[in-house]
């Protein structure tokens, strides 16, 4: 269909202002600082969960805000998260068969 494009996509994409992006970047920087601090400060039993949670938060923030996924069409989220969830599931099972998680 080369004829008649409904070209509305661009207006829908603006979910944030530049100031908003900078705020997100500051939060990301702060979390990164916290992550790096685990190298210097002993977090005890919290070490592993804290790092993983911070990783996920950073990941989701970049995807949702910088990549606009939060404001965009659901179809984009479906395509991306389908791949992501499948990757996590399949590779976790794969590592589990090597008894990776019970070392």
């Amino acid at each position: 269909m080369t004829i008649n494009t409904a070209d509305k996509t661009h207006e829908q994409q603006h979910g944030m202002s530049n100031a908003g992006y900078i705020r997100i970047a500051v939060i990301l920087a702060a979390i990164t600082g916290l992550e790096v601090s685990t190298y210097y400060v002993d977090f005890g039993v919290l070490f592993l969960p804290a790092l993983l949670i911070m990783m996920v938060i950073k990941f989701v923030m970049v995807v949702s805000y910088f990549m606009h996924l939060k404001f965009d069409n659901k179809m984009f989220s479906f395509l991306f998260y389908a791949g992501l969830v499948l990757a996590v599931g399949v590779y976790a099972a794969f590592l589990a068969t090597f008894k990776f998680f019970i070392q």
Partner: protein
């Protein structure tokens, strides 16, 4: 009302471009070899996919015949052990990656846009690139035959057997890199078709009004989208080990050879469904048409297809039951494997009930479809016996496995493809394949394949291992189950099968020389691809159809009688066509041909060739790729308005068409 029997196909409406993009003028030929090499038309690409796949089918078939010749009698002398290894490796690789996948890609390319009422795919140049990458990748894979020997580690190329120590020739390098190129082709094709289906359906065609073939192809493309990167990783690890000294599968360094098996089968099991689901889609189109009934339980067929696609990700380790995974893993994967038989069974039931009470019309296409139901079920049942891990341990690496996957792949995938040939031939080429020869084709193939693969169940249960290049009289045993007799039968069967396929090729030649054109709607079909000329015009539809029903074409021809509640024909296909022609869209600008897809694709084997022989060649290949990528990026997909003839109001398409007639 003008009854249009078979309107002449119109010639592409492009005139010489005035504007240049990239560094060259656009190709514009509408005829001759240039119109094929630089085309971005999904129909031409579909035909080229089909021709390429057929070519590799014959190569793979000859390899199979050599294998069966070798095993026909004790102490076979046709091939030596080394050549035998190469033969079965390349037979499987060719059939899987260079025949079934491209053939399905060909059907998908040709029919998905037609079935969803679109004029082309979402990314026409990417489509062309995918085809050329596949062709070049396939040629590259087979180059190894002439450069020191082909790959010899079996199609799943288990580590550490694939390492330089056990496979010193360049065969495995060609194999890994060639599949990498074919993988790129599949990935781009998958993205293209997914976006086409999600985004380019005709108005009114919701997902649940989509033809079932398109549905199955969509599931397949999602499987490819997510499975190809896994094999990409595995192939990179293998290439890095062989060419750059990485240690991934080096047991001396503490490597776990199961890493390869896992990665291969995480890809490999979804791949199995990539091979079979397109054929499921084809028979789901063929059965309703020739039973004169709608598909029984359409939503069930859709969702069972999607379920197969999803559960297909959780069963890969059943290929590895004998590798010492441990009882927990084996139990889990055993259960998931049994579970996946359920949605497959749902499909079988739906097909059977589609035929139940229908007015069956036993055309060749229908015979092949019924053949698939029966023979795939045989293969499916032996598959369930593999799901039982203790039984599978007995069967692993025997001919029983060979029997199983040939029943599902030949009895399933290939019969489905042949059903598609006979069903859609008039659509693609405008002529009907000969039904009488088709009958010979069908029966010889079915008898041949049962003679070939049936005895392999016995051979396997008697303990004949796969990939054994010779058997001896002493090991053959005695009585009804002796290996000598059944090996001979299998070999004879393989030649019967080959004659059956030869019948098809003869049929194609005879049909090509037959001047008689096919009628517009030869099968009284149901879906949108039949609502256009045979073969379709370059722009597919004069008017983009608006869809109201599942099987919309059927519902345009037939309406329910309010009194008797039976379907009565209200219009003929010819009338529908004539109406479309009267209301034809003007100013249809199709995507324009381009040099860049083939140039870009050509750069890939140059790079990989260089990786094996000289990195300087790789640099040249890289330059080609970069050059083509820039050309591609700087060229718009559809030539600008100024390149088209200006259509004065009221003339539109007709004028353009008549200019070229």
């Amino acid at each position: 009302m003008a009854i249009i029997e078979r309107p002449a196909p119109t010639v592409p409406a492009i005139v010489t471009p005035t504007t240049t993009y990239g560094s060259l003028k656009r190709p514009v030929s509408a005829t001759g070899w240039r119109s094929w090499v630089f085309t971005v038309d999904h129909k031409k690409l579909g035909i080229m996919y089909g021709a390429t796949a057929m070519f590799f089918f014959i190569i793979g078939g000859v390899e199979a015949l050599l294998i069966r010749l070798q095993l026909a009698a004790p102490n076979g002398k046709v091939l030596n052990a080394d050549l035998y290894n190469q033969m079965f490796t390349m037979h499987a690789t060719t059939m899987v990656f260079l025949f079934v996948m491209p053939m399905a890609a060909g059907f998908a390319n040709y029919f998905v846009p037609l079935q969803i009422g679109a004029r082309d795919v979402a990314f026409p140049r990417l489509n062309a690139f995918g085809f050329w990458a596949l062709l070049f990748g396939g040629i590259f894979l087979n180059l190894a035959w002439f450069l020191g020997g082909a790959a010899d580690g079996g199609w799943f190329m288990y580590a550490p057997n694939s390492g330089p120590v056990f496979s010193p020739s360049n065969g495995v390098d060609f194999w890994a890199l060639g599949l990498q190129i074919a993988g790129i082709a599949s990935l781009t094709g998958a993205i293209n078709l997914i976006i086409t289906v999600l985004n380019m359906r005709a108005p009114g065609m919701s997902l649940m009004k989509m033809p079932i073939f398109t549905w199955m192809i969509t599931v397949v493309q999602f499987l490819l989208l997510f499975a190809i990167p896994v094999i990409t990783v595995a192939l990179f690890l293998l290439s890095f080990q062989r060419n750059f000294g990485a240690r991934f599968f080096d047991v001396a360094a503490g490597a776990d050879p199961l890493l390869w098996q896992h990665l291969f089968w995480i890809f490999g099991h979804p791949e199995v469904y990539v091979l079979i689901l397109p054929s499921f889609g084809i028979v789901s189109e063929v059965l309703p048409v020739f039973s004169r009934k709608p598909l029984f339980g359409y939503p069930f067929v859709v969702f069972s297809g999607a379920a197969i696609g999803f559960v297909g990700w959780g069963v890969w380790a059943h290929h590895m039951f004998a590798s010492g995974l441990g009882p927990v893993s084996v139990a889990v994967f055993s259960l998931t494997t049994m579970a996946i038989a359920v949605p497959t069974g749902v499909k079988i039931i739906n097909w059977t009930l589609t035929m139940w009470g229908g007015k069956l019309w036993f055309t060749t296409a229908m015979k092949f479809a019924i053949g698939l139901i029966v023979l795939f079920t045989v293969g499916g049942l032996s598959g369930v016996t593999h799901a039982v891990a203790p039984s599978d341990t007995q069967q692993t690496d025997t001919y029983y496995i060979v029997a199983h996957f040939h029943y599902v792949l030949f009895g399933g995938a290939v019969l489905g493809i042949f059903s598609g040939f006979y069903y859609w031939w008039p659509k693609v080429f405008g002529k009907m394949l000969n039904e009488k020869l088709g009958s010979w084709n069908f029966w010889l193939m079915v008898i041949g394949l049962n003679l070939t693969f049936g005895p392999m169940h016995i051979l396997g249960l008697q303990g004949q291992p796969r990939r054994m290049y010779q058997w001896t009289e002493a090991r053959a045993g005695e009585g009804f189950f002796n290996l000598a007799f059944w090996n001979l039968i299998a070999s004879i069967g393989s030649f019967v099968l080959a004659v059956g396929i030869l019948m098809f090729l003869i049929n194609v030649l005879i049909t090509a020389r037959n001047p008689q054109k096919a009628p517009l709607d030869p099968w009284n079909a149901r879906s949108l691809e039949w609502m256009t000329t045979n073969p379709p015009k370059e722009h597919n539809f004069d008017v983009v159809p608006t869809v109201h029903h599942l099987d919309d074409f059927f519902h345009q021809k037939y309406e329910e009688d309010p009194v008797t509640h039976t379907m009565k024909q209200v219009r003929t296909a010819e009338e529908i066509m004539a109406e479309q022609e009267r209301n034809a869209d003007k100013h249809i600008h199709m995507p324009s041909p381009s040099y860049w897809p083939i140039v870009l694709a050509f750069g890939l084997p140059v790079i990989t060739f260089g990786l094996i022989y000289s990195h300087l060649i790789s640099v040249i290949g890289g330059v080609i790729v970069l050059f083509a990528a820039y050309g591609w990026a700087l060229e718009s997909s559809t030539a600008p308005d100024s390149d088209f003839e200006t259509n004065t109001p009221g003339t539109g398409l007709d004028k353009v068409a008549s200019n070229h007639d």
